[in-house]
Symmetry: C2
Subunit: 135 residues, 2 copies
DNA sequence: TTGGGTGCAAATTGTTTGCAATTGT
DNA sequence: ACAATTGCAAACAATTTGCACCCAA
């Protein structure tokens, strides 16, 4: 639960870079942040970390299960602390906002469909690209 | 339906490049092809087209609705002739094979979920990353 | 003829890597 | 102390773009 512990139990040293990056990912406004978003946020808080290190640490965090990588159609990858409850995403094309949602029925159907074809789901990605209703 | 017509009605000139690329996309083995796959296929058939042109034409085809672009987690984009019936994809992590599937119930739930949050779906992407069951 | 289309090479963008210097344990 | 980590710049991969030449309408 504690930041340092989370890093350590992934077999990684607790460094300024890792702590700083984890701090950004934990902030509400920066869940779903790109490597560059994180880089900028850190510069703002006068705590710059080299962009190469950010990419390296994010990859380590993904391997360690601390965060997950999303490949939306926005060009760059977005990172999110691994949520305890799985959920999918809606990306608003007008505002760029990312909305999380969860739907049990969809999850169940996915399993069923994969099994029918003779496969087991390892991972999946469901993204709805949306626009506000009224407008 | 005819190849030339499809190109022309998109407001594009019927050129060797466009015809060749469309031909590759139409072949069963090359639905879900990357720009580079197409490039290689064309070289094989002694009908090379510059890679830059391939990218340009694919973008025009996407804009014209002739084909769609998929961004699976494989690094490059894959292109597919716009299917008349919408379907989603399963990508086998073992073989790289892309399997198409369709599920009405999932589609309906997506609409419902988006509406509940106050949005209208413009597009969506559902990809199941799978492995063969027995193994 | 003539404006769109093409090839080539150079430019971009997002991300990774080699290496010397630095730091956590 | 010593291996792990970092920053910087160079390397990369996928895709885009500028420009001189070419070709469909």
């Amino acid at each position: 639960m504690n930041k340092n512990k989370e890093i350590r139990s992934a077999g990684l040293k607790v460094t300024r870079a890792r702590r700083a990056i984890l701090r950004i990912l934990e902030s509400k406004e920066s869940m779903h942040a790109s490597a560059d978003d994180i880089h900028r946020k850190l510069i703002e808080s006068a705590d710059e970390i080299g962009i190469a290190t950010i990419y390296r640490v994010l990859n380590q965090f993904v391997s360690a299960g601390i965060c997950i990588r999303h490949n939306f159609e926005t060009g760059q990858s977005l990172y999110e602390l691994t949520p305890e409850h799985h959920h999918d995403h809606m990306v608003c094309l007008t505002t760029g906002k990312v909305i999380e949602f969860e739907d049990e029925m969809i999850e169940r159907r996915q399993e069923k469909v994969a099994n029918q074809k003779g496969y087991r789901i390892v991972d999946h990605s469901l993204v709805l690209y949306v626009e506000p209703l009224e407008k």
